[in-house]
């Protein structure tokens, strides 16, 4: 491997200073970064290991009803926090549908937000990739691209963001707390990831040295606990990225949708909030027709970027199903096959 410096800062301020240097990158669990380094996709000069920083591994309930999740909380610890899973069931379901048990034990909240695309051409250093090497071109266009983006893509890049976790977080208006060279700031998760445009190499709005300290769910996010699901279609039952996924959360009052939240995964370079679909559901009865209409709205701007037009129809169907499942009510327990279309299969059928 390329030789690199390894820095273990004692404080957040030290971390930010160390990571602001050119060629530096943060290391948390490394579940994505180490693979990228082994494959020479990322060749950092300096790793700034934040796993020993104090205070970033807490799940805190704040006085105003918000929840603050430290960036170093592991995906598994968060998903298995009973209070968390009860209050934000779609988020827990999404977490448990991602990766494998071993990866979830290691992977962190902050790292999950910043994981890189799984576009094969990004990982294949012999291919042209504007994201990996700005201006080099995009071999995914015209290549093997049946899993690529159908929303928000550009001629420069058709990659998707692979996170499951981010999808319900986005639906619930999550806020990201960031420490940077100029102090602390917070942004909506929806603003964290950028669409590719002409600069797909810039994947987030983060500046050099910026460190995600926490993700916060605002008080209103608690209001969807009774009707929230995550649904993920993939090519095997586990340990596969979503072809398309959706998080649906409803607040139902008097038989009508008081408020709807909907976000899609696997369709764009960022987790995709479907606000137009949310709007058509406000104040209407949660019916199949309403969900169909929402699905059409959600994918109104979708267009294939390659051999992937099926993903548009699949996404519509997933939206309808996710809304239907959410309307039916959050199950008392997270299914044994979280987020799977087969989640309703009673019990674990395999020995």
């Amino acid at each position: 491997m390329k030789q690199f410096d390894y820095v273990r800062p004692a404080t957040v301020a030290e971390a930010v200073a160390a990571a602001a240097q050119p060629g530096a990158t943060y290391l948390a669990a490394g579940t994505n970064l180490l693979d990228l380094m082994k494959g020479n996709i990322s060749r950092p000069d300096r790793l700034v290991d934040v796993t020993h920083l104090d205070g970033l591994d807490q799940i805190e309930r704040l006085a105003d009803g918000s929840l603050r999740i430290g960036a170093l909380v592991s995906n598994a610890d968060l998903a298995h926090d009973a209070e968390f899973a009860k209050t934000y069931p779609a988020v827990a379901e999404a977490l448990l549908s991602g990766a494998s048990a071993q990866l979830r034990n290691a992977a962190t909240v902050g790292g999950n937000l910043l994981q890189r695309t799984r576009c094969a051409y990004f990982y294949d250093t012999a291919s042209r990739c504007n994201k990996r090497e700005a201006g080099s071109g995009c071999d995914a266009r015209g290549g093997e691209n049946r899993t690529h983006a159908v929303l928000g893509w550009s001629e420069s890049c058709i990659a998707t963001h692979p996170s499951d976790f981010c999808v319900p977080l986005l639906a619930l208006d999550a806020i990201v707390e960031i420490e940077g060279r100029n102090g602390r700031r917070e942004i909506a998760l929806d603003e964290l990831h950028r669409l590719p445009g002409h600069t797909p190499e810039r994947e987030t709005v983060l500046e050099p040295g910026d460190l995600i300290l926490a993700v916060r769910l605002p008080p209103a996010a608690r209001g969807f606990a009774a009707h929230a699901r995550y649904l993920k279609v993939r090519e095997r039952m586990s340990y596969a990225f979503a072809i398309v996924s959706a998080a649906a959360a409803l607040r139902i009052e008097d038989g009508k949708v008081a408020e709807a939240r909907l976000a899609l995964g696997g369709v764009a370079a960022k987790p995709w909030r479907a606000r137009a679909a949310e709007d058509v559901l406000r104040g209407v009865a949660p019916t199949a027709d309403a969900f169909q209409e929402a699905a059409w709205r959600a994918l109104a701007d979708a267009k294939p970027s390659g051999d992937n037009s099926y993903k548009i129809e699949l996404a519509r169907r997933i939206v309808v199903r996710a809304l239907t499942l959410a309307a039916a009510g959050t199950p008392a327990r997270i299914p044994a096959l979280p987020a799977s279309p087969f989640a309703s299969t009673s019990g674990a059928i395999h020995a």
Partner: protein, 753 residues
């Protein structure tokens, strides 16, 4: 290598014969504790690490390598390139026998496929060697890559598989199709697949003067040794290969490939022991794969559902520089009794590493197409798929007319169908739903695999202390050879298994032949059988010719070897222990060798195949198209079952592979560059635990007096056949959508609501 301490289940589980007992694998405890030494676990003193640099392009030449940059990197010791390498004794392009495949060992700057080795960096650490390989920054002259089944002009290869005729004919297919009441004409496609053994190809090579020590997983110790000997121009007895355990082989570790040869060359170049382990993505090129196929099946049936003709054509690919042809159409030779059969193959050349044997080569690809087509034909005839298969049951091997040495396929159909509950299946597709509204489908497929035999030798020893030994250079790929062959050895020596020192996995032992073709237990078992009989005969001679022995004069009556004693066949009261016989004779031990080989006369007379029937249930989300297999039952008749526990495990593995074939596995090749875009286990999908349903395996009683002395047919590969088609047919039955391109994808099932 440390002494192997193999353990068995408690003795009280066994009564008399070891064969037939479900012993747990005797190397299991070693493996669980991490004490089983795989090739890459060896670290001789002074070991250096070699890393291969591979080509980014699929076709062209390497025009430059920055060797200086690599050498400047701290820890890098040497860089081996076409301009700087130890010479080989012969040109590796020369095919000295049919089991020699061409390899890329830095003999030129030519690039013939992506991931071809183009240089080797040797360093003090793996990390330094890895970075050195990156720093080589190769430049290329790139030529257009030939990719896919339509890459160029097709041709008819001289043979397919291992020497099989490219075309076979029985009767008049054209007339058979013309006379049919119902016909189907369908094209099926299967993708390139890679073996992906858990253990990557690895070698630790150590030149000790003119002697060469090798730790390397191999399915063919002697074939590998002979290839190394000719490539390096050294005598066989100067080479020692140790291969006690393989972390899977599946055909990719059968023959010497380029990368381990590069490891030996690297060790020679630096004069120190060298370890070379392939990275996962480097296994997608130089170590073989299953070629893609496009298969056209034309089938006719009469008004009663009897086949009138079966025409099976397979297009496949080979590399631009060597020949291996997936014999997919040959799957239609044995199963269904059509009066007219034609099988044929053609191929195109593409920029790929040469395809190779991969678990059930030809049978797996051919089976999913044939079983799908038979299912389509049954539906066209309005018949239940099992009834249709029974209607066309082959009483003799269709293509040759030979009787079967044994064939309990009817019992497989009966027992499998009963266990599965097949009788309740609806004839029409898309009729069954579960409580959650998921579509439910039931499908079946017939399994078949030839009962092969190769040649092997074993050495048996009986010792004065009452113990025995059996030595054979057999290979345990995880299938359980350490256990099953020791069971055979124990019976042949008339000893409890714990009294038999069983040695295997090393090239200084007698040649066990290749562990392939599902023939290893039969082949090595036959040699063990002969060696055991020969050493018992020697011991018996000592006793029956010695007037002081209670067995004196029993030569004509004969003796039985059991529990460490020889007993007069016609008088059980007269017996003597092995120890007593040897002590009185004044010898420490007796030894004998024996061989196993196919019986040409029996092969001439009989068709020899294992058979089976697989039944699968799938559930499909009607809107979203995701598929889950929820039940599989496989009933297999494979002659004598040496160890039911391990056999079930082998068949489980095969059935899971079949499921994977139908629903998951596919190497995705960029159509422009010829590069494989999912060369890792995250993206090259194989089933995870949650994809694998409860598997139910029935081993159907079958006695075969013809295949070999022990009546063993082999179970290593048959589980894939039938299973892949059963899953595909179940998907059709669930959805009414017939998908003919594998693996079946979600988008294939989104067409209907």
């Amino acid at each position: 290598m440390p002494e192997l301490n193999l353990t068995s289940a408690p003795a009280h589980l066994r009564h008399g014969s070891s064969i037939g007992q479900p012993l747990t694998r005797r190397d299991g405890v070693l493996k669980v504790k991490g004490q089983a030494t795989y090739a890459a676990d060896n670290h001789p003193p002074g070991l250096l690490f070699a890393v291969i640099a591979v080509s980014n392009i699929a076709h062209g030449r390497v025009t430059s390598l920055d060797v200086a940059a690599a050498k400047r990197h701290p820890g890098v010791v040497e860089v081996m390139t076409p301009d700087h390498k130890p010479p080989l004794a012969i040109d590796p392009e020369i095919k000295t026998n049919p089991f020699v495949f061409r390899m890329e060992v830095l003999q030129s700057n030519e690039v013939r496929y992506a991931n071809q080795p183009i240089a080797v960096v040797i360093a003090e650490t793996l990390e330094a060697a890895t970075e050195g390989a990156v720093l080589l920054a190769p430049r290329y002259e790139t030529l257009p890559a030939l990719v896919g089944l339509d890459a160029g002009k097709s041709y008819v290869p001289p043979v397919v598989g291992v020497g099989n005729p490219t075309e076979n004919h029985l009767g008049d297919v054209t007339a058979g199709l013309a006379s049919a009441d119902k016909q189907i004409d369908a094209i099926y496609e299967t993708p390139a697949q890679y073996h992906n053994a858990m253990e990557p190809h690895a070698i630790v090579a150590h030149w000790n003067g003119d002697r060469l020590e090798i730790d390397m997983p191999t399915q063919g110790l002697m074939l590998s040794l002979a290839r190394v000997a000719e490539l390096f121009g050294i005598a066989h007895d100067k080479i020692h290969i140790r291969s006690p355990f393989l972390g899977g082989g599946f055909g990719s570790k059968g023959l010497m490939a380029g990368p381990p040869v590069l490891g030996i060359m690297a060790a020679k170049l630096v004069g120190k022991p060298v370890k070379l382990v392939l990275r996962r993505e480097q296994m997608y090129g130089p170590v073989g794969h299953r070629a893609p196929t496009r298969q056209r099946l034309r089938i006719g049936a009469d008004a009663e559902g009897r086949l009138t003709a079966l025409d099976h054509h397979a297009r496949t690919v080979s590399s631009t520089f060597d020949d291996f042809y997936e014999p997919a159409a040959d799957a239609s030779h044995t199963l269904y009794a059509a009066p007219a059969i034609r099988t044929s193959h053609d191929a195109v050349r593409v920029n790929t590493g040469t395809p190779l044997f991969m678990r059930a080569p030809g049978e797996a690809t051919g089976s999913i197409a044939l079983e799908s087509a038979i299912d389509e034909m049954a539906w066209a005839c309005g018949m239940d798929p099992l009834a249709f298969r029974l209607k066309n049951y082959a009483e003799v091997e269709p293509i040759t007319g030979k009787p079967f040495s044994s064939k309990a396929l009817r019992a497989c159909y009966d027992q499998g169908a009963a266990r599965f509950g097949w009788a309740k299946r609806s004839l029409q597709p898309r009729q069954m739903r579960d409580d959650a509204g998921l579509l439910v489908g039931w499908g079946m497929g017939t399994a078949t695999f030839p009962a092969l035999m190769f040649q092997a030798e074993a050495r048996a020893v009986l010792r004065r202390d009452g113990s025995g030994a059996m030595e054979i250079g057999a290979h345990d790929m995880g299938q359980g050879a350490w256990t099953a062959l020791a069971q055979i050895a124990a019976d042949e020596l008339g000893l409890d298994i714990e009294r038999v020192e069983f040695k295997a996995g090393s090239s200084d032992l007698p040649d066990a032949g290749i562990a392939g073709g599902s023939a290893h237990t039969a082949t090595a078992g036959a040699a063990i059988h002969s060696a055991g009989a020969a050493v018992i005969a020697k011991l018996a001679d000592l006793a029956t010719n010695d007037e002081r022995s209670p067995l004196f004069g029993a030569g004509n009556a004969g003796v039985i070897a059991r529990d460490g004693r020889l007993t007069r066949r016609d008088d059980e009261s007269r017996s003597e222990s092995y120890g007593e016989i040897l002590a009185r004779a004044g010898v420490a031990e007796v030894e004998a060798r024996g061989t196993g080989a196919p019986n040409p006369a029996a092969m001439e007379q009989y068709a020899m195949h294992a058979h089976g029937a697989v039944f699968a249930e799938v559930k499909v989300d009607p809107e979203l198209g995701q598929i889950r297999v929820t039940r599989m039952v496989g009933a297999f008749a494979a002659g004598r079952i040496v160890n039911p526990h391990l056999v079930r495990s082998q068949l489980f593995g095969g059935m899971i592979w079949g499921l994977s074939f139908a629903l998951h596995e596919e190497a995705i090749t960029d159509r422009r560059s010829g590069r494989i875009m999912n060369a890792n286990l995250g993206e090259y999908h194989i089933p995870v635990n949650a994809d694998v349903p409860p598997l139910d395996v029935i081993t159907v009683e079958e006695h075969d007096p013809h295949v070999n002395a022990l009546g063993i047919k082999g179970v290593g590969e048959i589980g894939i056949t039938g299973s892949a088609g059963a899953v595909a047919n179940a998907v059709w039955h669930a959805t009414g959508v017939r998908v003919r391109r594998f693996p079946i994808r979600i988008e294939d099932l989104l067409t209907q609501r």
